[in-house]
Amino acid sequence: MLLWLILLLPLASFAVIGLFLLNRPRLASMVSAGTAVTTAILALAAIWKGNSVEPAAVFSWLRVSHLRIDFTPEWDRLAQLMTFVVTFVGALIHVYSLGYMKNDAGKARFFAYMSLFMFSMQGIVLAGNFVVMFVFWELVGLSSYLLIGFWYEKPGAAEAGKKALLVNKLGDFGFMVGILMVWSIFQTVDFQRLGEMAWLSVTGGNEMSAELKSWLMLMGLLLFCGVAGKSAQLPLHVWLPDAMEGPTPVSALIHAATMVAAGVYMLCRIFFFLAWIPDVLTVIAWVGGATALFAALCAVAQDDIKRVLAYSTMSQLGLMVMGVGLGGPAPAMFHLTTHAFFKALLFLAAGSVLVALHHEQNIWRMGGLRAKLPVTFLAFLAGMLALSGVPGLSGFFSKDEILMVAFARDKVLFGVGTAVSFLTAFYMTRLMAAVFAGRARSEAADHARETPAVMLMPLVILALLSVAAGYSFLGVKDALRDFAGFASAAQAGHSPLAFWILAGVPFAGIAAGWLMYRDVSRNDALACRAPLLHRLLAGRLWFDELYDALVRHGQGGLTTVLNWFDTWVVDCCGVKGVSLSTMCLGNLLRCFHSGNLQTYLIYLSLALVILIFWKLALF
């Protein structure tokens, strides 16, 4: 019952707002935020009761021949931890949004979408099998699309929304095929039943045949496709930076704390299953590492405060994925949790800065905000230190755990992780220096005033959590230590050498950053000293351009071919050639539809003749 409430309350809120309250924005926002807070409290209660929550009623959703898909909420430790993150951060961000979206024209719509998102995200967390997860996975994608394009009158926003949806769809199709493979190989898509099966064939000592192994590997990679799309891993990462066109609370909730982490959550959920296919885990680890390093490098050269944070999110997600890939799901989930706190904090603080500066996003037009926005500054500082992994804050503990696993498993990836750690400290220092230090570099920055309390309160709570979440008395750290699903996970040893390296690197990064950006001018110091490197990084290694070019030139090539076809086949063959050739530039298949009935009849009879000759073997 409790679980159903947690799942369905946001849906009810969405329905109520969508149906009745679209013209009453104030009431709508209250309903939505109230629901979010209630959900968080209920979730805490449910977690308090832990596994003793009465089993929720089974809702049988689909029966297709031998396949049966039930909607049974999953309520193990993993789901509990993730529920906590989603509902708690969600509630705080809802409260924050009350202030942030105060005067927006589409306030009611915004809160309706937020409720829809909360519903679908909670659905992913509680999903007990692949199909249900996929359904909510798509719903999350939809609500993310709606929220990115929320300000659709901004030209970039609609485009960004479409890009996000298309890239996600690409990943989702891989995911879907993967699910189909799971279905046809194991005849079930239920996580628990799959878990039992996995046990059986590992302990039973059945040697897998090579063929089965390669099928399993393909299956694992396809499932990972979905993760790569949702969690913005290389090479499907291009949508996340653009997604920052959405309102800042959305960036904080969806594109930093929860939705993008859904990929990592899914990896952990099916970890028992992946643990069987070590090759796939290796691929996952390397993709994660590459993403982490790539994104950290890009973050160094961004000028937009939200884009810096977006790349940082991508980089941290890369670390988590790498953690899972190296066989450490528990550290990855730990990092996911702490990251949700401090990244949400950073985004909300950035939002606070943006409100104070009337939506000026370029960091080189800020500066000197330390004195003007003291609370925001302190919160941002806490988030920044936690993210950089300064010892004693939550980020340090979680990152340390992942990298310890890396140290034990793969020294190269440990090196990558250390480099990422250094770069993180470096670009966050750069950000701090540009935004808060020095003098104000624009009119807006000069007149900034602290934001209202309703926005500051969530900042403070999140700041406290960012500092403290790493300590074991809060329980987060050890929440999954003895989680049965992770039984086959690697146990990281503790190496003093690695510990000291990890403790030292953030300070080195901060020091380097401070040296380079101590006296900020209007321009980026890196751009002056190493212009080539800066261009490379600012262009994000030209991934978007590469994709654009691929699409454009692919089309160009196709068009050339079509032109040729048009000129020589259609035109020369004279089906009302001239007028056609000008109209047929679009694409090959449209060319056939010339509008000339006789041409159609000729195609029809040619098809008929070919069919007859082919099937009756008359050639």
């Binding site: 689909l62 297709v64 679009g586």
Partner: protein, 483 residues
């Protein structure tokens, strides 16, 4: 001839005769009332069929009631086809009546013709003899020649009519010739005798040729590539309610016939027709999805979309499993509901006009939230977004294809699903984010709202609770394959 088997057909035929006579001899009665009465009667017949069908249905699933020397069969598939015909005709009639002008002389005649097409499909669903197949199919086709050209002051409608006429007549000629060859090979026109000859280890060449010609003719009805060339032009040019009817009833009739013919009459020649269906599926998917990309007219887009959907359904036929064929029936159910929604909204926004530019739909979300929502649900279902009916349907097709081992086709189908998603979303984007061309508010009557609400609920329900629909489809197909 066991007359009692023909109860529902006779009811429709009586309704047609009554309509014509009353219109002829009582010209004072306003035509709109007459047409509405016909709709109410048809609804009554539908309800009666669904009611009794559900009651006696179990028996029909088990055994087969045969009449007219094996010509007319009443089994699960037949019942399903009849119900499909009823619903398709009802939606099309309602859509057509909304836009009958006050001075519309031909409203009653058009309703009459729609009923005739419905009757044709009902007979087709039961036909297991090529003579009946031919006559019933021609009944449907001739009605559509007239309906497509029925906006006779509109050059595009007439042009579409001519194209449909010549193309359709040639296709039915080809199909008829195929039947003649089958007769030559078997000495009979019945499905049962055909099945006996087809089950021989090496079926005669004549039979093979006949089957190929018939598949080509059916390809026209289904709008399956490479026989689909007419579809975009005719979909665009025909009056919108007719396009809706064409997309639902005509395609449904084709698929019901295809399923019965291939399983019952030609079940023994699987190895022969399987590659043909596979190639038709693959080509339909490619042409339908890629061709729709750069369209600017929504109706034309729906033409390409219909080709693509045929491809998806043929995938299920090509899987030659109960799951695949049952999936086709499930797919058609969802397809009918979603199409009724989409075309219903198109009728509301711009009447019967042939060109329906996607641009005109810009800002529909602001003009009428209700219509935009209905169109949204319809398009999302067509594009296969969970948890709507279209999603489960596509999933079933993919699974059938996967289990049938058709990896290449599955790949094409996935590609087609992604590509067509693009053009459906493009419409949705225009609808909610585009710069509006028209700004006047749209008033939607309560009746239409009710109908569209019911349809939307149906799309969601069929998708969210696929159980009963899927079980029913599977039972029908099992009974068919078991004989």
């Amino acid at each position: 001839m066991e007359i009692h088997l023909l109860k529902s057909e006779m009811a429709v035929a009586l309704l047609m005769g009554w309509l014509l006579l009353v219109d002829l001899f009582m010209p004072r009665i306003p035509k709109r009332y007459l047409a509405r009465t016909a709709v109410v009667f048809l609804l009554g017949i539908t309800g009666w069929l669904v009611w009794t069908g559900a009651g006696v249905g179990e028996r029909w699933m088990e055994g087969v009631l045969v009449g007219g020397g094996g010509m007319f069969v009443l089994d699960g598939l037949a019942l399903w086809g009849k119900e499909f015909a009823f619903w398709a005709a009802l939606f099309a009639m309602v859509a057509g009546m909304r836009f009958a002008g006050k001075d519309d002389d031909h409203l009653v005649e058009r309703v009459f013709l729609q009923l005739a097409a419905c009757l044709g499909m009902m007979l087709l669903a039961s036909a297991s003899h090529f003579a009946l197949v031919f006559v019933a199919l021609e009944l449907v086709t001739v009605v559509f020649y007239v309906l497509v050209a029925s906006r006779r002051h509109d050059g595009l409608s007439v042009e579409a009519g001519v194209k449909y006429l010549i193309y359709g007549a040639m296709s039915s000629g080809v199909m008829l010739y195929g039947m003649a060859l089958v007769y030559g090979a078997t000495g009979s026109l019945g499905f049962a005798e055909t099945a006996r000859v087809a089950a021989q280890p090496t079926p005669p060449m004549l039979l093979k040729m006949g089957l190929l010609l018939m598949l080509a003719g059916l390809g026209f009805k289904l709008a399956a590539a490479p026989f689909h060339w007419w579809a975009p032009d005719v979909y665009e040019g025909a009056p919108t309610p007719v396009t809706a009817f064409l997309a639902t009833l005509s395609k449904g009739a084709g698929f019901v016939l295809l399923v019965r013919m291939l399983t019952v009459a030609f079940g023994g020649m699987k190895e022969f027709w399987l590659p043909v269906i596979g190639v038709m599926a693959g080509l339909s998917l490619l042409f339908g999805s890629l061709g729709g990309i750069s369209q600017t007219s929504l109706k034309r887009l729906m033409g390409y979309s219909s080709v693509a959907h045929t491809g998806f359904m043929l995938l299920g036929v090509a899987a030659v499993s109960c799951a695949g064929l049952g999936g086709v029936l499930y797919y058609l159910t969802g397809y009918l509901l979603a199409n009724a929604l989409v075309f219903g909204v198109m009728c509301e926004t711009s009447g019967e006009n042939p060109y329906q530019e996607i641009r005109e739909y810009a800002g529909l979300g602001a003009r009428s939230r209700w219509l935009a929502g209905a169109l949204l649900i319809g398009l999302l279902s067509l594009s296969g977004i969970p948890p709507l009916a279209g999603f489960v349907a596509k999933l079933l097709m993919f699974k059938a294809a996967w289990q049938g081992g058709m990896t290449v086709l599955l790949g094409i189908a996935l590609l087609a699903a992604v590509v067509s998603l693009y053009y459906y979303l493009n419409v949705i984007r225009h609808m909610y984010a585009g710069e509006p061309v028209l700004t006047d508010g749209l008033r939607v009557p309560y009746g239409v709202k009710l109908l569209q609400g019911a349809l939307a609920a149906g799309v969601v329900a069929v998708g969210f609770f696929p159980g009963p629909w899927w079980d029913g489809s599977l039972m029908i197909v099992r009974a068919l394959a078991g004989r």
